[in-house]
Subunit: 315 residues, 6 copies
């Protein structure tokens, strides 16, 4: 079993920056999960720069410790995890990059026999090759729990099909998503028109806007998600812009008025026991994050929550 270097063993600022100072490996055989950076940001429509997010998240993840006080276990006693570094992408070439990402991820899924990727984006476009790889490996559509302020189900931008605002529609069109067990949570912000969120429902997703979620509260939000997903194999994709800019300023298309960090933590901590096949954390832009790097810190912590959720999968 791999373990991160503890802050009690050496100061947390010592050493090459892998996630939580886990071992850097190239062979994921035997891994229950693996950290993988996908520094692709060519799909970004406004601010750009999440290509540096895997570095930033790994850097500050050195602060995180192995034991989870809420779940009351040491994550690395339960699952075997390491860091495989970054996938090769081609900046400026969306479609070529998506193909490369898909193939590399599929190789990792096969090598690990279904190990759970914890993907550090990159912009949200990467969910498309992630799902392509999952479906190629599992031979079935995957349910998606999608936390985001945006639905990302537009058809195209400026005549082009592959951007960080359109890939959920592409994924549905490609038959990758088990929409009947999928849900988009946290939608908020201004809209192009009255169809922005409706189009997700047309595609088959359930939706729970931020306003709806806050009105019913976090426990009911969680219940709604659990009910929707059931025991389907499920992919959890979290766009950091679902969190309020006060808590996550370092992102590309921030929308004022999102979740607090504690609401986000409470949500994820109550989502144990689902049949997770993969996770991603996308749209962190370190250049816009300020010297405290609180967005990267939050992202690293949410990935740590993902690891706990992996440890809590039904056996």
């Amino acid at each position: 079993m791999y373990r991160p270097t503890s802050g009690l063993d050496s100061p947390r600022f010592v050493g090459i920056r892998t996630f939580m100072r886990l071992p850097l490996i190239t062979d994921v055989s035997g891994c229950d999960a693996f950290i993988v950076g996908i520094p692709f940001d060519t799909g970004a429509s406004y601010r750009v720069g999440s290509r540096f997010a895997p570095e930033a998240i790994r850097s500050i993840s050195a602060m995180i410790r192995a034991y989870h006080p809420f779940h009351k276990f040491d994550i690395f006693d339960r699952i075997n995890v390491a860091d495989v570094g970054d996938l090769a992408v081609v900046p400026g070439y969306a479609e070529s990059s998506l193909n490369r990402i898909t193939q590399q991820l599929l190789d990792l899924l096969e090598q690990s026999q279904g190990g759970v990727p914890i993907a550090l984006g990159g912009d949200h476009t990467i969910v498309l090759p992630e799902l392509r790889a999952q479906v190629a490996y599992r031979k079935q559509p995957i349910a998606v729990v999608h936390f985001d302020s945006h639905s990302d189900t537009w058809d195209e931008y400026w005549g082009e099909k592959y951007t960080h605002g359109t890939m959920y529609r592409r994924a549905v069109e490609e038959g990758l998503i088990d929409t009947a067990h999928s849900i988009q949570v946290g939608l908020h912000g201004s809209a192009y028109d009255d169809n922005d969120w409706a189009q997700s429902r047309t595609l088959g997703f359930a939706t729970l806007t931020l306003r709806e979620s806050l009105d019913v509260g976090i426990p009911a939000t969680v219940a709604r998600i659990r009910e929707r997903v059931g025991d389907a194999p499920v992919y959890l994709s979290l766009d950091i812009d679902v969190v309020d800019p006060a808590y996550a300023p370092g992102t590309g298309t921030p929308e004022v008025g999102g979740y607090t960090t504690i609401q986000m933590q409470d949500t994820l901590r109550a989502l144990g026991g689902l049949n997770y096949v993969g996770f991603d954390l996308v749209e962190v832009l370190p250049q816009y994050d300020g010297p405290g790097q609180i967005t990267s810190l939050l992202a690293a912590n949410l990935c740590w929550e993902f690891l706990a959720l992996t440890a809590l999968r039904p056996s």
Copy 2:
């Protein structure tokens, strides 16, 4: 009807930065509302630099879309709005600047026959010439809804009468404010003495401190404002420092412990139907806002809420 350039028509980072990429006009005839920058910051008593706020707010306003999901309408289907650029001011000369602002605004009010200015400050001193212009145009005092952590009703600073902490007293002295229908909301922070907030009541304002507002909750806060204002013509002035510094760090005299963004949004969204004659958003200092520019983003969104409130005025 003017419309902003949509992010679906061209990427939001393309083009000259007017508010929401609305047309830049010089003739406001036929406008229901108009965006106007008032880059005056000579009245600032501590940090200074809001002269660059109109630029910063316009810049990031490119991220905002036309459709308002809460109110369920496209703002620009309902009201005709454009951007008139900035008013000329004279940095370092308060009184001269105030006169120039008054005259320029009055010209715009007359040309538009009472179009609603959405003013991008500038420091809070600008509320004085804004009210002077309104009263000159409307020939009657105006009710004011004033969101701020400070009452801004001191008599003078260091022997001088025109600063961003004294202009509400000046406005009352000049008979510009219908105080019986006016209210100051969100007062908090340390005070010079026990008179800081009492002096506003002496001048005739109702007050609702942040603590009182949080204790009764947002719906009761809104009810208190609506009750106070009634159907008087009303000017809404929002000093961004009424919002907590976590959500709005880029301001000149921040006070810890303000509203959250969601509280602010909920308040404004519930204030539809009043007889608004003007709005301002003041005291944004981009230099103190960090690379994510979340204060400017919030300010731009609150101006968008002002536009929605304009669209909801009684006909």
Copy 3:
């Protein structure tokens, strides 16, 4: 009675930066309390730089006014306070520094006959010499109310005994703390193992984790603290990382998901009447705080709350 220079007497950016522009003194005779900087940060295990925090907190404290609207008194009408500058420390030498701090503080306690130090850290290690000085002066162990996301009761780091993560254990070992009347509040974040917080209880502290505190609410949190402390002489130590990084990004070992500013203010405002002997505010790192310096601003405000609590001590 000393008084700060008021912002009505000269602009708040004028003058040498003492705390709230209080007089800079070297003789604390007759002082009820005194501001003292302790720029020691050699105990920091991750980010470092709180040696510049006393300067940053003093700088922005110029914004704070003398009258406390919640308590409804002018602090400086009630207690005599001034700023004594910084204690000399030896960067890079923990044990030597601790001895110097202890002696300098003891001198100040003796000169002021038990005047209350409001200490501006520095890293949290300084609580050890602060308690040593208090106990040397008072000849009895002191109760501690400790707000922090970390328990700081580990035994050692990398074979060394004196760091910002171990000093509470040292203090207990040295018999400085009346643990039966002491409590740690706000613990949260990832942990090394299941003993991180338990070890504090083993040492005799009561603990109230952030999650427990939020579950019962602020009033019950306050009641728990008051009940625990009783009328023991008590030292209040506040590590700014107990506050959420959105509100306090400028700190050395931030943990996502802490108190809001308003929760922190509400807690302190309800803790009047205890028998305070000293306060510290530690772990502010201005380098990580962004241009708005909201962490320093919060820290300065919390020190102002400490002054109010000093004014509210039982006579």
Copy 4:
């Protein structure tokens, strides 16, 4: 004749940010030159974000005045210039963007009958569509004076042909460049292999490395350029990374050890009288530029030098 708004007419922070506060126009008929933003940065191989450079350069260009003390004329007395805003690009799609840029520029060239574009990049990829448009308009290859630390003549990156490191090779392959009259100046930094600069010569460019240029001095550098270009129609392309990072930190692939600002100014001021057909200033990344925005300031000033060179063209 269009003129910029003078800082004597209104404070330079007043007004919508066009270049030097020139009029914003859509019809370039009668213009000798025009400012045009090309916010394309999809070709960037390392840091990314020059999509925001046109905004940043325009913003700070408000500081520049009309009279050129070296050349001793008011630029706008000699040439008719305005700002046409930005060209529409498609982020994430290089080839589609290049086609759009070419067509839009060609339209402007035709409308202005050969008006000189002063292009604000964007990454350096944009030189390709700029040259395509020039050649389409002029029906002949164009000489290029290329200031850069990189030769940008690699064949491909990761299997792709259109990036900011390959476009000069593409341009030569497409027959757009009159290489016999073209020169690359300022090459420096580490290299992939001994072919990095040699490949430019193989393609037909003359080269003058930074070291060679500094060894012979600025006057001889200028002489070499003038000799090479002769009276050919010439395009001047300036990658800001040819300037030392101390003077231009805000760029995507900085190389330590470039020209100083004064060397750059002296070079451009001595290059009057050539037959310029276009200019670009590329690779400014405001996100990496620090609060003083000195890179954008330098870029704006260099564009002002370009305007002076336009005014000095042989009639």
Copy 5:
């Protein structure tokens, strides 16, 4: 004799920030020179915020040591210097502030019997009250050595007479300057028209533009200044924007292409023996200076050079 606290006596980050940690005094009797902050920035025409420059310069001045290796003496062995804090100003009111500054400075000149003020601006407007005080004290016009990229001799801005671009003309009009022995050095940047620098000569100043200065070299520049000044009582005023933005990014109206730090040091070090009556260092804006605060560091060092020049006055 006052002395700064040495970095060998306590770490340089310890203590209240006076200049070089000199004593803070209110009575300047017996002082040869005194440090005085003049945080007035209401005269600024573009960026604003030098009100915080005295604080920033004092803060980083803690790094400077007492012994001057070029002049080979300990400054504080030769002259008696302390820090008097800041003069009270009235932000937003230029003329009122100028009167207050004049009177306060005159009091200090009288109390110290002609002690040399080392003034930390503030914007350049402060040179006017500084000269008023000097002339009131000395009953004769004063020669001025003025390092600046701008001549600051415009007549008015937007109808107003007292700004940081007009005060040298005011000073000449008021008969404060012995122009026959005065010189402006370092003029550069774009100009309003061909009169920008000529108007200074019309007023009687000699001028040496940056280009002229660099062409003749630093020794000849110094010779020209010395020749011009002769043995007249002389005031040296240094606008930090005469230095290149790479070396001094934190200023309000930067002009690319100024002196390097070493050129500036060499110039000042060669200017010993003149009959200095006062100095100022103006136009530092810490908000625009980046985390390294190199502009403030340079400013502090140049003030230290001023102290050495004071020590070198003819007896």
Copy 6:
């Protein structure tokens, strides 16, 4: 032979950040040189934070390519180099850390049979354990070429012996340095007294101040160094503060007026052929470096120059 991952093989922002994306190894057998981080900053007397420098330098070193155009070779064709990560240090405990560093380095020297360490500091204190390890391995004193603005030969600070300002004296006292072949280059800045630089000569070092170096020029500076060192085994230690703050703002005790980057490059490039046994690059503080991270970029490039010098050692 190890090789870095080329930017032509994958984008330079892809992958875990080792130096130049070299392999991360634990066994240095067969290495001619190795990169090693020594994140120790407890010896810093003013600003602190170089514990994060190895990470920052490695991060941006991804931009550097393998071929050196001045020396005209691919470094990795000539020497076998990899990255061994960081040495474990104990923050807050100087003497314990120094012992650990010495032992770890000695192990690496033995394992590699005298492979050349390229050490990424950390503060300058680390030169002491580096020399201890070298002397323990080589059984003879080592010549030192020391580029720095400070001599670092003070006896103690505040009663303590091991700081970044005293370690060269310690090294001499311990007999580690062959002072007869050692030289300190670039000394400048203010001094404590006339002994600051003389004390180095008393200890046996030759000195060449910055002023002396600039007066004679770079070639003569190099000649002086070469003459002094001869063919002694030599350690080159470069404190980044020898470079001007415009080029290297991110450092702990900056002194205005240092070398330019080009002067530094020219110096190192002319120093080939010496018998180097080790190198360090110290005192980079990323927190003070601005978003462009130009100090880290320069540091990475200078380490690349060190690698070239290693390749040029006499065989």
